[in-house]
């Protein structure tokens, strides 16, 4: 039976996380994500979960890693300045392969920036914010309903691949209220735990590149370190083991990219142009492609920014003889770089950017498209 609810984006994130089985949240107040912490402080104790407000964002991120190692699905939520503070530990989670979900409700930056205004300027930080080569999954929902289902997806990916997953919201979709119909069947994924005690190696390369994960307290010897480590989890600087580990960390995501990527392609016309957009900007783009004034323009929405639906985009461009691509985003051109990398010389890629703290209007975008067409 479907449930129709009027819901705020941040609330949808909370409901999705609880539905996914999240039982541990550590956070620190920061606009525009604070509602997530406030709501969970009320809801988590009622389902035998644990809410902790930590002394800063560094410790919030550290605490969810600790809790996840103990077996609970864990999450933290923040915005730009807090996301910056979490970066070192996000790298730690990637290296130690600890499943966790980090919600970043984007606001204007850099620094304190525009705390109450919308922005999409943490796209590159969500991919490369922490040092070192590392895998990561980044998901950017467009609607409040998306937030609910994609929060569940974020946990499923974190558990399946033992990676930190960044749920990239922005101030508009986090604070807007929309009617949400919760009618879809959902699947919940849990991390694979070791079957037998005898031969357990915490970082052994299993068939899919994802080691099985024991909880602290299950009775296994379990050594966790941010240093490069061997299958036992013990530190090493052996070049062969190092290379194997870093390769496996990447391959476990790359090999499954086609199963991970989420995207939508709307109103694609042969020989036409293509808009690419995500998050709140994609909402404005939807308005444009169904607007008669601009003919022959389709919309591609990547929900997973990393891994990016690369092959799918290349095929779409080829199959439909796309002439031009417009990338609309609320920053100075971050995903634009990624799109240019993917399409190379096959077609022109033009950025449509706004970074004054306000959301696009449809006119902002149509004007830029018309200018380019002329």
């Amino acid at each position: 039976m479907s449930k129709r609810l009027l819901m705020q984006g941040n609330t949808a994130c909370v409901e999705g996380a609880l539905r996914a089985g999240m039982r541990f949240f550590a956070g620190y107040p920061i606009t525009p994500s604070t509602e997530i912490a406030e709501l969970l402080s009320i809801k988590l104790p009622k389902v035998n979960g644990k809410f902790i407000q930590m002394e800063d964002e560094i410790s919030s991120m550290a605490a969810i890693i600790g809790a996840s190692l103990c077996g609970l699905k864990s999450m933290t939520a923040t915005s730009g300045p807090g996301f910056s503070l979490k970066q070192e530990n996000i790298g730690y989670a990637a290296m130690t392969e600890v499943p966790c979900v980090i919600v970043n409700v984007m606001r204007g930056g850099p620094s304190t920036g525009l705390p109450t205004c919308v922005s999409q300027s943490d796209v590159m930080q969500s991919r490369w914010g922490t040092h070192g080569d590392h895998p990561i999954i980044v998901i950017a929902p467009v609607t409040v309903k998306d937030i609910y289902y994609m929060t569940i997806k974020a946990f499923n990916y974190a558990e399946a691949f033992r990676v930190p997953v960044v749920l990239l919201l922005d101030e508009v979709i986090a604070h807007m209220r929309e009617c949400v119909e919760l009618d879809e069947e959902i699947q919940i994924v849990n991390r694979k735990r070791p079957a037998t005690k005898e031969s357990y190696l915490p970082y052994r390369n299993e068939d899919d590149g994802v080691p099985h994960m024991a909880d602290f307290g299950m009775g296994y010897k379990y050594h966790v370190t941010g240093l490069v480590h061997n299958e036992k989890g013990y530190p090493t600087s052996n070049p062969d083991i190092t290379e194997k580990l870093i390769t496996r960390l990447h391959k476990k995501i790359e090999d499954k990219a086609s199963e991970i990527v989420l995207f939508d392609a709307l109103n694609i016309t042969n020989g036409g142009d293509l808009l690419i957009s995500y998050g709140s900007s994609a909402r404005v783009c939807k308005e444009i492609i169904f607007n008669e004034k601009v003919r022959g323009i389709g919309l591609f929405i990547p929900y997973t920014l990393w891994p990016f639906p690369e092959e799918q985009l290349i095929k779409l461009i080829k199959d439909n003889n796309i002439r031009r691509i417009f990338v609309a985003e609320l920053n100075t051109g971050q995903l634009l770089l990624e799109i240019r990398r993917i399409v190379g010389n096959t077609c022109r890629v033009i950025g449509i950017n706004k970074y004054n703290g306000e959301l696009f209007t449809p006119e902002d975008i149509t004007k830029k498209i018309e200018e380019a067409i002329e």
Partner: protein
């Protein structure tokens, strides 16, 4: 004792027209602290992220007469450390003539929690600066979340009083004692100026001592927030008096390791006088929570007794 008439003639270094809430205690604290500066001395002021920073610097204005830095949330003490260290070097090299003083302000969130590391570092290195914490007992700027300065039992948006928990379950961190343990020249705890009390000039005197003591100094000032305390703005100075009279917030100082109690209430009042008028403690007066009031009282008594010993009053 300073002359009130003369003090009132000193130009305000935090001007009116800022957008702090009606009844907010923070600008009162800042103004009294800055009044302690000699008129001829210049200052670099710094504020951690918080109500004070947001509401005193609304585009296109600033309420700060002196040089002002808003740093990242956790860095007020570290940022001003850098400024002070550079000033000392420039002064030594004869590149600067004026006398500057360095004063950082932070709320309890930016001081007790996220900024504790940078504060501790600055105090230990001994920069010639004053750090002033205006402690209103929660993250008021983001909508009243608990901090480690929030008193036990308080209802906040992240320690919501209800069936599962009776407000914040932990006791308040004693930051003044933590900073005193850094063995810096001057540490003091006080309250805003309340006319008619014996401690009316306590904040002013302590600010003056802190600013003109060489080395690191720290002031912790209990500051009313009608929004977070859920109290009427007209009652807040009475509440501060209650905090002092119940010994919830003793007025004392530690100068070169020597403790001194600056005000001892003639009669120690029960903690309920501090708790009862505040909406954030309302639920504590339900019959099922009575034991919590007894626990809070016991904790206040214990800390008060310990302080009396430190101050040589017992």
């Amino acid at each position: 004792m300073p002359n009130l008439k003369e003090l009132s003639k000193k130009p305000a270094r935090l001007t009116g027209g800022h957008r702090m809430c009606a009844g907010c205690g923070a600008p009162m604290v800042v103004n009294w602290v800055l009044k302690a500066l000699k008129e001829e001395d210049k200052a670099v002021t710094c504020s951690a992220t918080g109500c004070l920073e947001v509401s005193t610097c609304l585009y296109p204005y600033t309420a700060w007469k002196d040089s002002f830095i808003h740093s990242a949330f956790e860095n007020a003490a570290a940022t001003i450390s850098g400024v002070e260290a550079c000033y000392v070097a420039m002064k030594r090299n004869g590149k600067i003539d004026d006398t500057y003083k360095f004063i950082a302000f932070g709320g309890d969130g930016g001081t007790y929690d996220i900024g504790l590391q940078s504060l501790s570092g600055a105090m230990e290195r001994g920069h010639d600066m004053v750090y002033v914490c205006y402690d209103n007992g929660a993250y008021m700027n983001t909508g009243i979340q608990r901090s480690s300065a929030t008193p036990k039992g308080a209802d906040t948006t992240t320690s919501p009083a209800g069936k599962v928990i009776p407000g914040k379950t932990q006791t308040r961190k004693d930051l003044t004692e933590i900073i005193a343990a850094h063995n810096i020249p001057y540490v003091a705890q006080t309250v805003p100026a309340i006319p008619g009390t014996k401690y009316m000039f306590d904040l002013y005197n302590k600010a003056e001592k802190a600013i003109y003591t060489k080395g690191a100094a720290f002031l912790n000032v209990l500051t009313p927030c009608p929004r977070g305390w859920r109290c009427d703005t007209s009652t807040e100075l009475d509440l501060i008096k209650a905090a002092v009279d119940t010994c919830f917030w003793p007025i004392y100082e530690v100068e070169n390791g020597v403790y001194k109690l600056n005000y001892k209430p003639a009669e120690k009042k029960p903690i309920t006088e501090w708790l009862k008028p505040q909406g954030r403690f309302r639920h504590l007066f339900k019959p099922e929570n009575e034991h919590l009031i007894a626990e809070i009282q016991a904790e206040v008594d214990r800390r008060w007794e310990a302080l009396l010993h430190l101050c040589g009053e017992k």
